[in-house]
Amino acid sequence: MQNRIGPPIIQPFYDLVKLFGKRPMVMNNGQIVFAYAFLILQAAALALLVSGGDLLIVFFVSGAGSVAFVLGAFSARSPYSFYGSQRELLQILAYEPVLLLVILLIGYDRGTFTVSSLDMSLLPALSLALIALMVVLVIKLQKSPYDIATAHQEIVSGPYVEYSGPFLGITKLANWFEVAIVLGIFTLFYWNENAFFSIGGKVAIVAIALFATQVLDNATARLTRERMLKFTLPFGILLVALNMALVYLSNEGVF
């Protein structure tokens, strides 16, 4: 595009390695402790998801990780960090109900929350929930129109502003885990007895979801905080509610 060569696709990994090699600079140890807590909790949640644990626990542990991140950002008394963490909390208010409802819907539909005993594609029954999940992914990836907490032009990357060097690296890595958890939930929507098809289908879902967020990111401008809340919550909740009604009706044998 525009006759220029962009950075390679694995540039974020190079950045991360470089961050870990830098000299640490922080304001106080609260920041460090909560950065580690953010990483540990997200890693634990991801490990639970991969090992086929309870989806609700994965959700709540990952949620605790997000709280740790917010507290880490609050720990440094700095205006941008402060506003960033307030906005981060608003984002939590916007996506957490939707994510939890999707998970509860999975449990309602399948009668279990244990990942290892989900052996059916969720897609046919829960396609509307998948769309609701897109909003969550966009927020977790910090993409437009929902890059509200980390808005560079307004509040200089918000909650990340007082982190640098290896600790910035830790928070970035934790954020990747966070995204991986949401993508992991995306992969549950496809399953096939043939392992090859199963993996192919899962990869396809993730690829489509990521591509869609890129398109959204490039096609939209950042929303205000209020509009994020007023749009995402009703949108996500309505989709899940519709989907839940459909599941209920099909359980009752209406169709």
Binding site: R23, P24, M25, V26, M27, N28, N29, G30, I32, V33, Y36, A37, I40, L41, A44, D54, L55, L56, I57, F60, V61, G63, A64, V67, V70, L71, A73, F74, S75, A76, R77, S78, P79, Y80, S81, F82, S85, Q86, L89, L90, I92, L93, E96, P97, L100, L101, L104, L105, G107, G111, T112, F113, T114, V156, V161, E162, L233, I237, A241, M244
Partner: protein
């Protein structure tokens, strides 16, 4: 004052634990104590009961409060009629001690006593200490009586004593605001007492006994015979400050902090949810009734969680949080499955410890600095590190995994899918809870650069504060490790009686029919790494930075975030109350509707 209060506290603590050990060693699920063993005590209770109701009527006249007079008389008349109707009749057994009662007794006597000890320091400059501590201990006594009582007349008496105690304690400071709040609390809870009195009269009418145990074991009568349960649920809602009765508990915040801690964690409001859990086996008879109760609970949880975001006064935020958590318990009772009732009891237990801890932290801050506004607590970590850590533990154990209270939230989420409408209230309420607690804790933990911090702060708080806060903080964490034993030895013995147990514990994991929660593994992994991070994260001097302010001056103030304007907030609570009133009307109408439906 210190020695008698401490001695009494120690005795009741030991006694409640002895009770648990006793029932375990007998290997029974409950035991009964006959009225005969009390001799003339039952006469004393009857006489005191009427004296109390007359006192309420008298207080109503003294305050020139028509509602209080009306509520007082409306209790007095049905109860007098009932006493005459059952005169000479033996109501056996007088007390039933089962595991639910023991869980309550442990909460009341251990947490309640710790609060009383804490109050010794907190109230040291008060002019009316003997009166204050006498009422506090009477409160604990009345709570014990209420949870052990099987004779409904006794239950009613102890219920009314808690009303009296809360009225006296809320008005303790004798300011105009305190008096107003005390009267409000009195009117609300007396109203609940009326519902309870009429409920008891109707129960005697339909089931021809006043033994709670016999009523709950009886074949359930449908239709209009459900009305007493609806009325008792309303009585429970007033005690537990569920919507639309939440105002008295918010007003009660003018009381000294130990009183708030007591009202919120181990007494008063817990009596309301105790009654709901107690009558939960009877609610299985009508899904419509149970679901309406679940909706009231769900509404209470969601509405107060959102309102808590808009609140800047620390004690009021905690009050909303209490109402919300009790809402969850109410919701569980309404869902009425084994899973839900287990979740309710676990929540009741863990909430008591964490909420007492949070109130006591706020109390210490108020006692030492006079600050009650959240925004003014900014940077408390530097000034009062011990309290800040205790507060952080309180917040973590109340809302975050892998601590004990979270286990009940997990079970509630699972239980809620049997009534999908509730999941929406639940999901939004959880997120709002995270927002209001995080922004508050963030305020407290907020600190400037270590480079320009003065010499390490020493916490000026007294030993009593330190020990009581420390005991609850350690207790809250320890209980999380022991949760599978708590489930096995405290919760399940009660659940098995009526529902069949659905939650199991195997030492390191607790599991339900729908999933499993490796709680101890998570606690150990997360805890160990967190501790390592704290111990090994001492930044060197040359690694300290200054906050980035875009080149502006370093001095700045940050405002809080409260989601709604005052106007929107008032409108929001108005709508909530309206919906709640409609739900209560439906609750009372359901028995009539069923009656009409079946007779047609």
């Amino acid at each position: 004052m210190a020695i008698p209060v401490m001695a009494t506290s120690a005795i009741v603590m030991v006694a409640s634990i002895a009770l648990l050990l006793d029932i375990r060693s007998r290997g029974v699920s409950s035991y009964e104590i006959s009225e005969a063993e009390f001799g003339f005590a039952s006469w004393v209770i009857t006489i005191l009961d009427f004296a109390l109701m007359l006192f309420f009527v008298y207080t109503g006249f003294r305050l020139k409060n028509r509602l209080a007079i009306a509520f007082g008389l409306l209790q007095l008349i049905p109860m007098a009629g009932l006493e005459m109707a059952v005169y000479g009749q033996e109501i056996e057994p007088a007390l039933v001690i089962d595991y639910l009662a023991i869980v309550m007794a442990l909460v009341i006597n251990i947490v309640g006593s710790i609060i009383c000890i804490y109050a010794i320091k907190y109230m040291e400059h008060d002019n009316a200490q003997p009166r204050f501590f006498a009422i506090m201990l009477l409160f604990l006594g009345a709570m014990n009586g209420a949870v052990f009582a099987n004779n409904l007349l006794w239950l009613f008496f102890f219920w009314e004593v808690t009303t009296l105690c809360s009225y006296l304690l809320i008005g303790h400071e004798r300011t105009a605001e305190a008096k107003e709040s005390a009267v409000r609390a009195l009117v609300y809870t007396l109203g609940g007492g009326v519902a309870l009195a009429i409920g008891i009269v109707l129960l005697n009418n339909y089931y021809e006994t006043l033994s709670l145990q016999a009523i709950l074991k009886a074949d359930m009568l449908g239709g209009i015979a459900l009305l007493p349960f609806a009325l008792m649920a309303i009585a429970a809602f007033t005690k537990a400050a569920q919507v639309p009765f939440q105002n008295w508990l918010l007003g009660a915040m003018v009381a000294p902090t130990p009183v708030s801690a007591l009202l919120h964690s181990s007494t008063m409001v817990k009596l309301g949810v105790y009654l709901l859990i107690r009558m939960s086996p009877a609610l299985g008879g009508s899904t419509a009734l149970a679901w309406t109760i679940a909706l009231v609970g769900g509404m209470s949880f969601l509405a107060t969680s959102i309102l808590a975001i808009t609140e800047s006064n620390a004690k009021r935020v905690l009050a909303y949080s209490t109402i919300g958590n009790l809402g969850l318990i109410t919701m569980c009772v309404g869902i009425n499955t084994s899973l839900a009732i287990s979740a309710a009891i676990i929540l009741l237990l863990f909430h008591a410890v964490s909420k007492a801890l949070l109130f006591m932290c706020v109390g210490v801050v108020k006692h030492e600095t006079g600050v009650v506004e959240i925004d003014a607590m900014s940077g408390l970590r530097d000034r009062m590190p011990f309290v800040s850590i205790a507060f952080a533990i309180g917040v973590f154990t109340i809302m975050l995994p892998p601590f004990g209270m979270f286990a009940s939230k997990w079970l509630i989420s699972e239980a809620a899918i049997s009534l999908p409408l509730l999941t929406f209230l639940l999901a939004m309420g959880f997120a709002a809870t995270i927002v209001y607690y995080s922004k508050w804790l963030g305020r407290i933990l907020s600190a400037g650069s270590k480079a320009n911090r003065p010499s390490p702060a020493t916490d000026p708080i007294s030993r009593i504060f330190r020990y009581t806060l420390g005991a609850l903080a350690v207790g809250a964490i320890l209980m999380s490790f022991l949760i599978s034993w708590i489930v096995k030895y405290l919760v399940n013995p009660y659940i098995e009686l009526d529902f069949g147990s659905s939650v199991g514990g195997s030492g390191t994991t607790i599991f339900s029919s729908l999933g499993e929660f490796p709680i101890v593994v998570l606690l150990v992994v997360v805890g160990a790494m967190f501790l390592m991070a704290i111990l090994f994260s001492k930044p060197k001097k040359d690694e300290l930075s200054q906050p980035y302010t875009g080149g502006e001056s370093y001095q700045f103030e940050t405002g809080g975030f409260y989601l709604m304007s005052r106007l929107t907030r008032d409108r929001f609570s108005g709508i909530t109350n309206l919906v709640a009133v409609v739900l209560l009307v439906i609750l009372v109408l359901i028995p009539f509707a069923i009656e009409v439906g079946t007779s047609l």
